[in-house]
Structures are given as C-alpha cells and as structure tokens.
C-alpha cells in the first residue's frame, strides 16, 4: 500500500500541554468576546471558566507520530464537555456529567467472527500490545463541526494482526457496550442499541485508523469513549465507535447503527466529503470549535493518503 506521509513535524512545533491548556483560556475569552459583541455588550474583564484536568491517568512513554497535524489543538475543556454520546444523552453538554461514574474497569473485549480463535481480552492487555503514540488528528462531525484532538493509541492494524482474522474476514465490526443501568440514554430507543460501527478490512488496516485509549497525554475521559475506542480521522465522527466491547470479523458488510436508522442520510462509508451533502445540510464547510468563521471541509478530512482505498468507487453513491 502506498502511504503518503505528511511533511515531517519537528517536535518543537508540537504544542506542549501546559501551553495549550493556557490557550484554552484565551480561546474561551475570544469566543466570549465574540458572543458578547453579538449580544451588544461592551467588553470588560472576561471571566475564565474553571479548568477540568484529569490528573491521575498519565500515559507513559508516548511517541510522537508523523501522522499528526500541526493545526491548533482544540481546548481539552471543549473536547470533554461537548460530546455526541447518545448512550448517555442526546444533549452534547450532558455526557460529561452523566459519564462521571461510568465503570471502565474491569473491561474485556471479545474478538470473534472470522478469526483463528475467539478471544476475550482484558482491555489492559490490549493497551499494552504496542507502544502508545500521540496522533493529533482532525475530527469532523457529520453535523458540521470539527475539532483537533491529540489522541493516544496505536494503529488498529496492530490489534487486527494479533487477532489473526481468517481469509473470510472482509469487514470488521465494532460494538459499543450496552449497559442501560450506567448509560441513561440507552433506556430510551433513540437508536437501536447497542451501537455498531464497522469498516472494510483494508480501511481498518490503514495505519491512520487508530485504536485509541487516551488523549491529551492521559487516559481517555469517560465521555470521550473510555476505556477503548476507534478513531477513523477521514470519516465522519459517528464511524469512530466508543467504549468498545466486541470486535467481530465477517465476510459481509456490517449493519451499522446510523446507516440502519436513516439509510438515506448516513452511509456505511461516511467518508468526509465536501461534495456530497447530507440530505438536510451542506457538508462543504465546517465550524472548527473555537473559530468564528466556518472553514472549508477537505476531501477525506484532508487525509488524501486514503484516496487509493476508494479507487473506482462512486463516492456519491457510496456516501
């Protein structure tokens, strides 16, 4: 597979955590200034919001990655307080509170389907399968907003290679935990639980596809998909399942949750594509959280190196 790497980023160009944690205050101030201007208020002292920092879950030995972007990292506070996590709530501001006591240990992941041998692995065993890397990725939601997140994890292919799928494996399916006792959103039928997402094998094997267990140098916060999630940066965010409990290999395309719920609006591929609108809204632009003006959305979210996966496919049909 031809893999085009982005221009190397010197480690000096990567923002140290202390700096971007400070920057968030500035950005919050800028956003507030903009909004205050809108509301016709004069500007005075801007009250800086309280900072939430996870102190106890540092991940050691994180390597840098050449896949990282050098774009401004979205403040931690935004990435942890603005979440689409319907298992907890359809309100983006609620998962942060509702997921506070979510139990992420003990946690096992079942690996089955078209594999040599079905396995039930402890999440801590999986996390130790390869060295953790920081991958600073753009993350584009199908709703039209985007963030830049310093995820921590390693290529999903590392796990897949160890899972030893058989030649029958053409697709891989990721299932999110179903536990209505802990997840109030699952007590209603907003979506058909459990949440299922999937990838074609060649997509899953692409080194950009990330098995993720941390962000901002620490373990994943519960509201961002702890203890283990998938991150597929060239696809809309809903493809990146959270709190994974099962990884199943199969010879047929998985029935994925959003595509089942509204096949006209959400496809199996869901590649970020500014030229294919959502039936109800345009995908040409996006609002990067913290920015005032919308920016143009890039094909494959700017990850052109995946284009070869889709050679000869009509991406308007396979949206």
């Amino acid at each position: 597979m031809m893999i085009k790497k982005p221009a190397d980023i010197q480690s000096s160009e990567i923002t140290p955590k202390s700096l971007y944690l400070n920057r968030r205050k500035f950005l919050a101030g800028a956003a507030a200034a903009g909004a205050a201007a809108i509301a016709g208020l004069s500007l005075g002292e801007l009250v800086s919001p309280s900072t939430i920092v996870q102190a106890d879950a540092k991940i050691e030995g994180i390597k840098k990655s050449s896949f990282s972007t050098n774009e401004t990292i979205t403040p931690f506070k935004d990435v942890t307080n603005y979440n689409n996590y319907y298992e907890f709530s359809t309100d983006k501001y609620e998962p942060a509170g509702l997921a506070k006591n979510f139990k992420t240990r003990p946690w096992t992941v079942t690996i089955d389907g078209a594999v040599d041998k079905k396995q039930v692995l402890d999440v801590d065993t999986i996390i130790k399968m390869a060295a953790p890397e920081e991958r600073i990725y753009r993350h584009r939601c199908v709703e039209g907003w985007s963030i830049v997140v310093p995820w921590v994890g390693f290529s999903l292919s590392e796990l897949i290679n160890k899972a030893k799928p058989t030649s029958k494996a053409k697709f891989v399916e990721f299932t999110t935990i179903e536990d209505p006792k802990q997840m109030p959103g699952q007590r209603g039928r907003v979506l058909d639980w459990p949440y299922v997402e999937g990838l074609r094998m060649d997509e899953a094997m692409h080194p950009l596809a990330l098995l993720c267990f941390g962000m901002y140098g620490d373990a994943l916060p519960n509201q961002d998909g702890a203890p283990l999630r998938i991150v597929v940066p060239w696809k809309y965010g809903f493809k990146s399942g959270k709190a994974i409990v099962r990884i199943r290999f199969s010879d047929s395309q998985p029935q994925t949750t959003w595509a089942e719920m509204s096949p006209r609006e959400y496809g199996f591929y869901a590649n970020v594509n500014p030229n294919v609108d959502h039936p109800r809204w345009s995908q040409a632009k996006e609002r990067r959280l913290g920015e005032f003006l919308k920016r143009p959305t890039l094909m494959f979210n700017g990850y052109d190196q995946v284009a070869s996966l889709y050679t000869g496919m009509d991406l308007k049909k396979n949206f």
């Binding site: 507030a32 903009g34 205050a36 990435v79």
Partner: protein
Amino acid sequence: MIRWFKPVVFLACLIPLALLGWKAYSGALGANPIEVITHATGDWTLRFLLITLAITPIRRLTGKLWLIRYRRMFGLFAFFYATLHFLTYIWLDKFFDVHEMLHDIAKRRFITVGFAGFVLLIPLALTSTKGWILRLGGKRWQALHRLIYFSAIAGVIHYWWLVKADIHKPLEYGAILAVLLGYRIAGWAGPKLSANKAKSLREPRFEVRQG
C-alpha cells in the same frame, strides 16, 4: 391589573436574551457558542409563539379578560426572538453568503419551512398597532393574524426536520401546539358558545375568536 405589571412582564420577556448575553460575557456558552445562540433563540421563538397562542384559550377558560392586553406583546417577542434567530443564521452561520442562503432556502426543507414561518410573522408584526387594526377593520385584521397558526406549525416542523434522531423536544412543542390549535378547531366545529358568554368576550369587537 396593576399598572406596573406590564413593564415587569416586558422585562421578564427579555430575560432569555439577557441570560445569553451574560453567558457570552462570562464565557459560559460552551464549546460551540454559535450553536447555543441559534438553539436558544429558536427555542424562545417557539415558546413565545405558544404563549401567544395560549392567551385566548386561557382567557376564555378562566374569564381573565385582561390577559388580552399581553397578547400583542408576547407575539412581538416571538417575532423579536425569531429575528434574532434569523440574524444568527445569516450572520453567524452563513456570514452573509447570499448565494449559499438562497441555495439553503431552496434545497433544505427544514430551512425552507423555518424561513416561511419567519416570513409569515413579518406582516403580523407590522400590523400589530392599533392604527392598523382600525385601518384593516377588525375582521380582516383578525383573519390576517390567523397566519400565526401557520407560522407556529412551520416552526415546529422546522425543529422536527432538523433533529438527527431525538425528536422528543419538537414532539413536546408539537403536542402543546396541537392542544392550542385543537381548542380553536373544537370551537369552530363544535357547538357555539352561548350567546351571552360570547357577548361578554366581545370587548373590543375584533377580539372575538381572536387567533
């Protein structure tokens, strides 16, 4: 009613805007302030439309005739928040990109219907004065102002069509609207009010069966 009551209600109607302004000022609008502003102004438009539509039924059911004096104010606040909502869209969302807006209005049905709901409110706001009631005559004025029914229906559909999966909030608005419009339909279709009671409500004349 006590004379100072009306200004108090007026100021109370501005609280949602003041809260938004305060949150913006204190940096409490969260990760996506523009989305919060869009949703808040949209929500308050619908709420004021429903409050406006609730005046007549409540007035009839409770006999508190003075309520009529607040209907215009609530209606104008619905228009006020709708205007803020629309401005948020053209300024903060589309940044005055006229081409893109026209494209949106033509192509995205939730925007088409929301825009229609807003446009329907404009003549109502313009003719909300006593002078216009006299100029048009009570009957015609009243007929014109029934446009608010369609505006409210459009508003609920607009909300319904834009949500991704969780329709419970538009459903709540829809249910309240159904009750308020149902009350009127029942009034038209069912047995008329006793002549005496209707007469007692006829003050001033154009307010009979007011929207």
